[in-house]
């Protein structure tokens, strides 16, 4: 069993934090006058158009409110701050406030941060603290199924841009007291809230600590989720393979949390980052768990096959046509020869050009509105393909190889993985064009070695193949076993609670 080595993998994230943190500006503390206090804050913030100040003076209370009108709910200010204040007859004014969330802040820096979060600052005359009241407004997109992670069967909801809603989606399904949510505020300027979510009775505390260490070391002006976050916490950013799982599906996130993995959410993005993951987890789709055992396993195997096709097929074709023509059976060789005979370029150029064309078509189609995108696909794929062959620039076989490869690469349920497979095949093609099978072999061996080395949050990335664990491989990697057979959690996330199923199929006797 692997020993978990803390930090060794990622010395860089250690040094990033610390001394570079700018010192807080030396604004003095609040004074007793509300007017002065708000003025002090307004001066600090500069005159932003949507920064509003409202004075009030009721019987018991006199003071000022300071808020950004764009991010607060004005109705709630009236209802839960102004009205209670005007009606109060209590000695202690704060007691009257009916807002759920409120906090006393004495530090102007913190007050500004709270202001940015959409809080209303309440300054009362004669007090040197302000009360931050949570009356943020939410602009909610409706909860929809994420477009790039559609499933046939199963739940059809997805995360949205609001952190609280997302956590609500998780809490709603995972009603366990062990579900831990820890907030971190990241980005000196953007002040993005990031949540680390894990199940404390399952997730390995060492992994949680490690992820917190990495997240806490983040120090930058802008937190642009999820790409930045991913870059900051990933083990090896230069590897072609993604070492985190991005998902917008609550069910997928929960399944992973229940496997002892840790989810990372950033406010403002519907994408949840899950660590540590394995290569194979990126090839699992939530669909698999809704599918029955045999079809589920079949499609999972099909996905791995398409991974192999996507990275190897163009290289194999180039190696065979350029080096090892003996490998083809006699009947096939004549057909292929008929195709390449009149093509003026060597196969590597032919394939490279076609692969590049497909990538361009894909890239062009992604950002266009759906109907145009489809048209581009059809025009690009069919017409260019046909024209290229009839003009004699590329052989039919090349077109077939390129098309099959492209389609195979899109099978991966993770968009990052699909990009990775599409990128890997280019160096393999070049190696194959230089050294035939040997070039391809060297390339594949290098990739295999790289996968053996790669770690996600310090856990082996290519598990359960390397390190090899037959039990895990048969349980949920290559085949999808029925739910009642998944007695234990996968070991790759090193969960502290291994058992997951306790004889559900031992039906109570009639």
């Amino acid at each position: 069993m692997a020993v978990w080595r803390s930090g060794e993998d990622d010395p860089l994230s250690l040094t990033a934090g610390g001394n570079t943190k700018p010192q807080s500006n030396d604004s003095s503390l609040f004074s007793l006058s509300a007017a002065e206090n708000t003025k002090q804050l307004i001066d600090l913030l500069g005159k932003s158009g949507d920064l509003k100040e409202r004075t009030f003076s009721y019987e018991k209370a006199e003071g000022r409110l300071l808020y950004f009108e764009t991010i607060v709910d004005s109705g709630r200010i009236e209802e839960s701050i102004l009205r209670p204040l005007s009606e109060t007859d209590m000695q202690n004014v704060e007691e009257a406030l009916t807002v759920l969330e409120r906090e006393e802040i004495a530090d102007p820096d913190k007050a500004i941060a709270a202001l940015m979060q959409g809080k209303v600052l309440l300054f009362l005359e004669g007090r040197s603290v302000c009360i931050a009241c949570g009356v943020e407004t939410f602009f909610l997109r409706s909860i929809m199924e994420p477009a790039n992670e559609k499933v046939i069967r199963g739940s059809h909801d997805g995360f949205v841009e609001n952190l609280n809603t997302n956590i609500a989606l998780i809490r709603e399904r995972l009603k366990s007291p062990g579900l831990m949510i820890e907030y971190v505020q990241l980005g000196q300027k953007t002040n993005t809230r990031v949540a680390i979510i894990y199940e404390k009775e399952i997730a390995n505390p060492e992994l949680v600590e490690e992820l917190k260490r990495r997240v806490n070391s983040i120090d930058m002006d802008m937190m642009f989720d999820p790409g930045f976050l991913e870059d900051m916490v990933e083990d090896s950013t230069l590897s072609p393979f993604p070492q985190v799982l991005n998902t917008e599906r609550p069910d997928r996130a929960i399944a992973n949390i229940m496997d002892g993995r840790i989810a990372l959410f950033g406010d403002g993005s519907p994408t949840c980052i899950i660590m540590p993951v394995t290569f194979f987890a990126l090839y699992q789709s939530p669909d698999d768990y809704n599918a029955r055992t045999i079809p589920g396993s079949f499609y999972r195997l099909l996905r791995f096959l398409s991974f192999l096709i996507a990275i190897l097929m163009p290289g194999l074709y180039i190696a065979i046509v350029g080096f090892h023509l003996e490998v083809l059976p006699a009947d096939l060789i004549l057909t292929i020869k008929g195709g390449v005979q009149t093509v003026p370029f060597p196969p590597i150029f032919e394939v490279l050009a076609m692969e590049t064309a497909i990538e361009i078509i894909r890239e062009a189609g992604v950002r266009l509105p759906t109907p145009i995108g489809q048209t581009i696909g059809i025009v690009g794929g069919l017409i260019i393909g046909d024209a290229v062959v009839s003009a004699g620039f590329a052989s039919r076989t090349t077109v077939i190889v390129v098309a099959v490869t492209a389609i195979s690469s899109f099978v991966a349920p993770s968009a990052e993985m699909s990009t990775a497979t599409r990128l890997i095949r280019f160096p393999l093609m070049i190696l194959a064009s230089l050294f035939g099978f040997y070039g391809l072999m060297f390339g594949v061996v290098l990739i295999a070695m790289h996968l053996c080395k790669l770690e996600s949050l310090g856990r082996p990335y290519f598990a359960p193949l390397a390190p090899f664990r037959l039990k895990d491989m048969l349980r949920d990697t290559f085949i999808k076993q029925p739910a009642w057979k998944k007695k234990t959690r996968p070991l790759d996330s090193h969960p502290i609670r291994e058992g997951a199923e306790f004889g559900s199929r031992e039906w109570v006797k009639k």
Binding site: V321, F323, L325, E326, L328, K337, V340, P347, L434
Partner: protein, 365 residues
Amino acid sequence: MKKWIGLGLSCLLLAGCWDERQLKERSIIFGAAIDAPSKEEIAFTVAIPEPGNEQKPASTKQVISATGRTVRESTRKIDRKASAVVEIGKMRVLLISKESIQHDIYPLLDDLYRNARSPLNAKIIITEGKAEPFFRNEIEGEPLYSTYYHTLIESAEDSTMVPNTNLQRFASPLFDKSDGEAAMAPLITFNKEEKMAEVKGTALFNDRRIAGELSVAETTVLLLMNDEKGKDATLTFPMGKEENMTIRIEKMKRKMKLHMPKDGPASVDLSYQLSYRVTDYPPGHLEEQKVVKKVNKKISDEIKQSMDKTMDKIKEAESDILGIGLSMSAKDPDRFKQLKWENAYPELNVKIHVKAEIIESGITF
């Protein structure tokens, strides 16, 4: 470090690919023919196919011949004539004329056998007459001659008319100097009027040169004797006057018993137990037990007779196709050495026992 790797890679890219053999720049041959009237003169002929398309099936584009002192020299001479370098790696049939194998055949095969690129699964075919015309003559309805010969032999193999052989299996016995086994190869002839080739039988080898011939029927019997039934094996025997019966062998069991007394000549007992179906027998009445018994007896006798005849023929050719010598050497190598096989084999006493049994006479397939 990274800079150096980059530099190395770009050097590789620039230097290019030493061993590249572009498919489009090669003349792939499927068939070759060898005519070697004497040891000094080896004429090598290759047939270069032309890829087909939707309108036109694949056909033979060119037939090129050249003569040299070794096979390799001849192929190099062909390269001088052909538009692209000739690629021998996909050869599927190798035609060798009968006159070329009057002397040692191995020099003709040495290069092809040991060349890392050459295919060991090419079929060896012996031709009646010169081999070159087999690629020069037009064959009706078969524009791609090499494939025609290949399928011709393959289908004959399936129906147990010729031995299932290829370059590797053919050459294996040639190395064996102790003469415990012998090679054989199919023999074909060209019929100019019909514009077709025809399987004629088998050429038997004795120590790397041709020693005899068998007809197709005899080959089938021989292959059955050697327990090498293909997918299908049929035999036809006369049954009384003007009546003939064709049977299809279903299952076969062979038992070989070797007798190698310390003093005195060796002998072999071959007993066969086979079951068959009757496919053609117009007189019928096979449902009657009595008839069946009679037919079984008759067929057993017929098979035994033809086996005896075939055995005599291969003994006469001094060609130990059945590998009796090999079996003997496997049983008792010391005694086998004493036997002096090349002298002992033609005198060998082979007793054949056949027990044939009908299993089906109704529906035939």
